[in-house]
């Protein structure tokens, strides 16, 4: 019992509601949103240390003990993700302060960002399957608004597709929940896991697991990523960065949670399918990343590649591979936010999104250019930066289980990532500058400081992996031994 657990979701919800009443007080809105995100970071750090001391924490709402009530559960995996999500959200807000424009701020932009974060944090923390659905919906409703906000033609066009796709996948989610409830008679995640372990994973349950996989694949862009590049490239830069960093990661979290906690009995079937889908995602994402000349498209396809990469770790399913997945998940949240922010800023200063229409930006904005260089090598996984350790561990796991094809695909995709970003770097940053010093758009401090902070974070995550290691290995350990989770929820009174 620890009431702090509810705050990462409750604070943003309350803040989002309060901000509606201060629609015209922009300074206040900014201040409150930032304070909420920062306090979430503090709460997450405190919770992480509590978990190290006391084991998995839980909060039964209204004192209804599991499996009867609904509850929030904090294990290392979910709280690490809450921590990084809050951090990324704070940075994206910082970027939004100087880039989003007054019209957006008056249209309750900060309220919706708060609701989005509430949904994301709630999805990470919930211990009840139906609550996961509700939190997904909270997050998605906020994201529908954020995609369409601004009301440009292309935004409305893409948001219609985004909304319909997600409504359909939510429908599948409901159906999957109904099937699972019909066959195991409970919605508490620990209890479901226990019941499935008792009855054995029958073919029926494996079938249900495939419905779940479809749902989360649609949400996370695993193979079913056709909606992703369109809807991630139309919103404002700060919003796109939030999406790229957080939304698909919630889907990945759900896949990892469901397939390590419920459906881990038939890995030959389920995890092979995840592996195949991950491989196809890597291939498709790689093709997309080299095919386009629009920076936003290239960056969006990089999101797809990383989804495939993280799930290679789950498909391998050893301790090392899962640790690698978690490291890479954290790394990816930070670096994708940075990549989207840099790409958006490039488009702003160059006035075009096509890589053959800009050149020599590094002469005008040297610091900015080097930041892009760092994000590029970080995504490719060069050692002192954060991508390295995740890649090594996932590779190690793939070798342990002998899935060499996946290993090859995963590392080939890293080369494609490097190539696609190098293409941007060479075309846009090198060569003759096309912006004369007179009509150079001044680089605002509010644009560059968030990028510097995120770059520092990727360096910190790479160099400070040692200090993060106990939490990550605890998280992977809990994922691999569902009994720890079940005991903490059901048998610990």
């Amino acid at each position: 019992m620890n009431n702090l657990l509810v705050l990462p979701m409750a604070l943003p919800v309350l803040a989002g509601i309060i901000l509606i009443f201060f629609r015209n007080h922009i300074k206040l809105q900014r201040g409150i949103s930032l304070v909420v995100m920062l306090s979430n970071i503090g709460i997450a750090i405190y919770l992480l240390n509590q978990i190290q001391e006391k084991g998995i924490l839980r909060l039964d709402f209204g004192g209804w003990e599991p499996p009867f009530g609904i509850l929030f559960v904090a294990d290392s995996f979910s709280v690490i993700l809450v921590l990084i999500a809050s951090f990324v959200a704070a940075i994206c807000l910082l970027y939004a302060f100087s880039s989003i424009g007054k019209a957006y701020e008056n249209m309750l932009f900060y309220s919706f960002v708060n609701f989005l974060i509430a949904g994301v944090n709630g999805s990470f923390l919930t211990g009840d399957l139906f609550n996961l659905y509700v939190n997904f919906e909270v997050m998605l409703l906020a994201s529908y608004v954020l995609v369409a906000m601004g009301g440009k033609r292309i935004q409305l066009r893409e948001s219609i597709k985004y909304v319909v796709t997600n409504v359909l996948s939510s429908w599948f989610f409901l159906i999957a929940i109904a099937y699972l409830y019909g066959s195991v008679g409970t919605l508490n995640m620990a209890h479901i896991s226990e019941r499935i372990a008792e009855s054995g994973q029958t073919p029926l349950l494996t079938g249900i697991s495939m419905v779940f996989l479809t749902v989360f694949a649609l949400k996370s862009g695993l193979f079913l990523y056709f909606w992703l590049p369109g809807s991630y490239s139309v919103p404002q830069t700060a919003v796109a960065a939030l999406f790229g960093a957080l939304l698909t990661k919630v889907g990945i979290y759900a896949i990892i949670r469901v397939f390590t906690l419920f459906f881990y009995h038939e890995p030959d079937f389920t995890h092979t399918i995840i592996g195949v889908l991950a491989g196809l995602t890597l291939i498709g994402g790689s093709i997309g990343a080299v095919a386009f000349k629009d920076i936003r498209q290239i960056v969006s396809y990089n999101v797809v590649i990383s989804v495939g990469f993280i799930l290679v770790g789950l498909a391998a399913g050893t301790q090392a591979a899962l640790e690698g997945s978690i490291y890479y998940l954290l790394h990816d949240m930070i670096v994708k936010a940075l990549l989207f922010l840099l790409a958006g800023t490039m488009i702003k200063v160059a006035g075009s999104a096509r890589i053959d229409e800009m050149s020599g930006l590094i002469r005008n904005y040297p610091l900015f250019g080097w930041l892009f260089f760092i994000v590029m090598i970080s995504l490719a996984g060069i050692p002192p930066l954060s991508g390295f350790i995740g890649k090594v561990l996932i590779g190690q796991g793939a070798v342990e289980t002998g899935s060499y094809l996946l290993l090859a695909l995963a590392f080939l995709s890293s080369i494609v990532v490097l190539y696609s970003l190098l293409r941007i770097f060479l075309n846009c940053f090198w060569g003759e500058t096309m912006i004369s010093f007179e009509d150079e758009v001044p680089m605002k401090m509010g644009w560059i400081i968030p990028c510097v902070l995120l770059t520092a974070a990727t360096l910190g995550l790479g160099l400070g992996a040692e200090s993060l290691a106990p939490y990550v290995s605890d998280a992977a350990n809990t994922l691999l031994n569902p009994k720890i989770y079940i005991d903490a929820i059901l048998h610990d009174n």
Binding site: E137, L141, Y181
Partner: protein
Amino acid sequence: METLITILAGVLVTVATYLLLSKSVIRVILGTAILSHAAHLMIMTMGGVKRGEVPLLGGGEQGQYVDALPQALILTSIVIGFAVTALSLVLAYRTYQETGTDNLDELRGNKHE
């Protein structure tokens, strides 16, 4: 009774699929609304329709109660469905205003402008 409701859910899914495959945005949105109701019926059937007394404290004599959980799930899900349908209708209207069409074929945007 369960069989009947299952068939009804199936009919609803059929109708919804037909609407989803059409070109008009409004029809697609109506399709998603019907689809969600099919899911609600499905949840209700999965929980078992009526097997005992109403689930109130001190209500029943035999000690056997109807499962109340599916009702709670459906209620929540209906609320969410309302919100999403309302939002998508507004979105469709704005899109119609902005692009002058509600034909999904014309909203495709193959050229990445």
